[in-house]
């Protein structure tokens, strides 16, 4: 019965929870921790900093103050005093403010689309895995079919049908990204559903939905969290690709993807337009990927051993 070895040599006082164990292991992974803090920092900066008045409106143009260098201040012909922390773009808009506001869109897309994919994928996968049999086969074939549909074409069709709207982007991406999630959860549930604790629950007379939602899904949380942290950057990348193709956010609003596209067009004359958003976007993606890696090791002690 000596499953959890006693910590700091004392006798067993109480068992540590799975979450606490994972947290300890994660803390030992410095890269993952740094990534975590960096990511929190980016989120806070993007969502809270624009609330302060010193961050200018990202869509205000000063056409006479275009392509200003970083850390410059000037007076526009309309008499407005402006200070550019990271310089201005070809219409005199503040790059720093545009990166912050663009980050809001990109992060919001990342989280919301991931939430959509998470809820669909987990419920669908759990149901399919738990019920099994023909229903499982049918549900998984549906997933296979959806996998086969080319994502870009679906999005293009939907945008021409519903118009170019941001909520559509969440739905499109979320609706596509849940497929892998549902397969992962299904696999987990199949391996869990014949274990003793499920049998115990069943013999106590619990209902099906209670078994699925209270006993099975919480046990899949490890792989789900890991996959979620990897989905967020994937979704942000997708949004960037769509914006790059002109299907995402509409001007004058920006996302990191659309900022990078605009910057790529002008990189010969105005490299800052490309470099700054690309650095921020790249670092955010890296941090999420490292965090995901760290969480996988932390939550799944088996995989950390090989």
């Amino acid at each position: 019965m000596d499953l959890a070895p006693p910590r700091d040599g004392k006798t067993i006082e109480k068992g540590t929870s799975l979450g606490r164990d994972a947290w300890y292991r994660l803390q030992k992974n410095h890269l993952a921790m740094a990534s975590l803090w960096f990511f929190i920092f980016i989120v806070v900066v993007c969502f809270l900093l624009p609330l302060f008045p010193f961050v200018p409106n990202p869509n205000i143009t000063h056409p006479d103050l275009q392509s200003m260098p970083a850390l410059s201040s000037a007076t526009s012909m309309e008499g407005a005093e402006v200070f550019y922390l990271l310089g201005s773009d070809h219409l005199g808009r503040d790059i720093f403010a545009r990166i912050l506001y663009g980050g809001r869109v990109s992060l919001a897309v990342g989280f919301l689309a991931t939430a959509v994919s998470l809820s669909i994928g987990v419920i669908y996968g759990a149901l399919s895995g738990y019920v099994g049999g023909r229903l499982d086969a049918a549900m998984m074939r549906v997933v296979d079919i959806l996998y086969a549909l080319p994502f870009m074409i679906i999005v293009i069709i939907l945008t021409t049908y519903f118009g170019n709207q941001l909520w559509l982007l969440f739905v499109c991406i979320g609706a596509v990204e849940w497929l892998t999630m549902s397969r992962i959860v299904r696999g987990q549930v199949i391996s869990l559903k014949n274990q003793e604790f499920v049998e115990a629950a069943r013999s106590l007379g619990l209902g099906q939905s209670r078994i699925i939602f209270r006993h099975l899904i919480p046990n899949t949380v490890g792989p789900v969290i890991v996959y979620t942290t990897l989905t967020v950057p994937a979704v942000m990348r997708l949004e960037a690709i769509l914006s790059f193709l002109g299907l995402g956010v509409q001007p004058p609003d920006a996302s990191w993807g659309s900022l990078i596209k605009e910057g790529a067009d002008r990189m010969a004359s105005d490299p800052g337009l490309l470099i700054y958003p690309a650095i921020v976007f790249g670092l955010t993606l890296f941090s999420l990927n490292f965090l995901g890696d760290g969480l996988r090791d932390a939550l799944d002690p088996k995989s950390s051993k090989d």
Partner: protein, 565 residues
């Protein structure tokens, strides 16, 4: 989406092995290697110059290769290479004429009846002779109500042309165009037009080959197989050999063309590149002889280096926004006025477009043969705000949401964003959306008037203010705003019968004054053509209408060429 570069590369270079090793120096070697080989390798342009194939950037993917369907400048560029009208464009001056299919022409005294004498040796690309009947057939086709040709109004010059197009007359023989015999064509006009030879140069007046059309459908069928390479029959200096959607349209010398020995290039490749930055990169990398446009922010860089490849020319065109006058909020004339006066044209020209364009205070560009448009829409924030109040909005925040429709292009986007911000700053209008559509879709949206405000440009079809003002007549197929005004129509009709230019211009000014006071259009600027041209291209002269007759353009390797980078 430019086609891939040619495959012949010189593999290996002396620098190659020495710099390999660490990652950074590896990158460096790669960059050097790339730079080196691209210098040594014969670029696509050099190869094309040798083969005398002109490589032209041409904006967007063509809507069609049928002169009766298209209405955009890029499309008519391709059609001008494929077809030849009665009169052809002069390589140096738009006011002069070159004989086309017609060897000579004459008019009666008051310019209301024109006789064209066709040459006997004009041939279609399948060898059939080009006759006067072909022209009658074409004019019947474009004017036919079932065709719903977007540009049919160009042929309203013909007597009863408009009535036939509107379905008021069923009998085409009542329309003022007759083939006296195989080689003599008579055009009877609705009203005198001394500039008629200029008019028939236009794309809409090009002939098409009837038997080919009817091989693939009825006369009035659009978008049939006849436009495909292999099926396409044309009578110009070139014939269609290849067309890949979003990649290229290739035309090659037409061996049956009557003047084939004087056709200088062996062929032309038109590349639809709608991203202006991509196009400029393609030009710089030796993939194009000519860019359709040049991105705003690169103009000053090219100017600073004194690059001789940069061309900046006066262009007979007007850039403006259309307003849908049937839909809120732009159905309110005072609201439209508020929008018009809130646009600072000078800021746009000086800081956004930066190509030496002129701010437009009226609609018709002033270069039109002595015509001066009324100077009415000058940026004035106070006047704009007054009109906004008059329109019934206490502040801009009360204005319901509306959308500016643009076709996909960085420069249109920049102008739209700048104007959107001007409306916000001056009028406080918060809810203006910008939506972009691909060019083909966009043209349809505008034609169906399914927008509130849309970006537009109009390039003169001939050198006369009439080409800019006749489109605002009630129900004109290029009006596309729903605007109509009986006084305007009356003044335009009256002007047509006046032969004294000064008197006629006075009427036109009066008409344009009505147009500008009701502002179904918001003027922005008058065009200049800014583009890049490779020094190998000879005989390319600045033209007011920019309709270059391609058969005169020569390609000779420029020896003095020291590509400035």
């Amino acid at each position: 989406m430019t086609p891939p570069a040619p495959h012949e590369t010189h593999q290996g270079s002396p620098l190659h092995p020495t710099l390999f090793g660490r990652l950074l120096s590896g990158f460096l070697a790669g960059a050097l290697l790339l730079g080196l080989t691209s210098c040594e390798r014969e670029s696509r342009v050099d190869k094309a110059t040798k083969e005398k194939i002109l490589l032209l950037g041409n904006g967007a993917e063509p809507k069609a290769l049928d002169p009766h369907i298209v209405s955009s400048v890029g499309d008519s560029n391709i059609l001008r290479s494929l077809f030849e009208g009665l009169v052809a464009y002069h390589p140096k001056n738009d006011m002069l004429h070159e004989p086309g299919v017609a060897e000579r022409w004459e008019s009666n005294e008051d310019f209301s009846e024109w006789r064209f004498f066709l040459r006997n040796d004009a041939r279609w690309s399948n060898g059939d002779p080009v006759t006067a009947h072909d022209f009658v057939y074409s004019y019947n086709r474009i004017l036919h109500p079932e065709m719903a040709a977007p540009y049919a109004s160009m042929l309203y010059f013909l007597k009863n042309g408009e009535a036939f197009n509107r379905g008021e007359i069923d009998d085409f023989s009542q329309v003022g165009v007759k083939a006296v015999n195989d080689f003599e064509l008579v055009c009877t006009l609705e009203r005198p037009a001394p500039y008629f030879p200029d008019v028939v140069k236009h794309t809409t007046w090009l002939p098409i080959h009837g038997p080919t059309i009817e091989k693939f459908g009825k006369m009035t069928d659009t978008y049939t197989e006849w436009q495909k390479p292999g099926n396409h029959v044309s009578n110009g200096a070139f014939r269609l050999t290849d067309w890949r959607i979003n990649a290229y349209v290739k035309v090659r010398k037409n061996p049956h063309y009557w003047d084939v020995k004087n056709v200088k290039p062996n062929g032309i490749n038109f590349y639809p590149i709608d991203n202006t930055f991509t196009e400029e990169k393609a030009f710089r990398n030796g993939l194009l002889h000519y860019t359709y446009v040049l991105p705003n922010n690169l103009i000053s860089a090219y100017e600073k280096s004194g690059d001789p490849r940069l061309r900046k020319e006066t262009y007979n065109g007007s850039y403006f926004f259309r307003c849908n006058v049937n839909e809120a909020p732009t159905n309110n004339v005072d609201f439209r006025r508020a929008l018009a006066y809130a646009i600072n044209q000078e800021t746009i020209v000086n800081f956004v477009t930066r190509g030496g364009q002129q701010p437009a205070y009226g609609f018709t560009p002033p270069s039109e043969a002595g015509y001066h448009p009324p100077d009415m829409i000058r940026h004035d924030p106070d006047v704009a705000r007054e009109f906004l109040t008059k329109a019934g909005y206490e502040s801009g925040a009360d204005v319901p949401e509306f959308t500016i429709m643009i076709n996909t292009s960085e420069s249109h986007k920049d102008i739209a964003v700048a104007i959107q911000d001007m409306w916000k700053k001056t009028l406080g209008i918060e809810k203006v959306k910008i939506e972009n559509q691909e060019w083909k879709v966009f043209q349809q949206t505008v034609q169906d008037i399914e927008y509130q405000v849309s970006r537009a440009g109009w390039i003169g079809d001939y050198v006369d203010p009439n080409t800019f003002l006749s489109m605002w007549l009630s129900g004109d197929s290029n009006n596309q705003t729903g605007w109509s005004n009986p006084d305007y129509d009356r003044l335009m009709k009256e002007s047509a019968s006046i032969s004294d230019p000064a008197e006629r211009y006075a009427k036109l000014v009066a008409a344009e004054t009505i147009l500008l006071s009701e502002v179904p259009v918001l003027p922005v600027y008058w065009y200049t053509r800014v583009y890049l041209l490779h020094p190998d291209v000879k005989n390319w002269h600045p033209l007011l209408l920019d309709n270059h007759p391609y058969k005169h353009i020569d390609l000779v390797r420029d020896e003095s060429e020291e590509t400035p980078e």
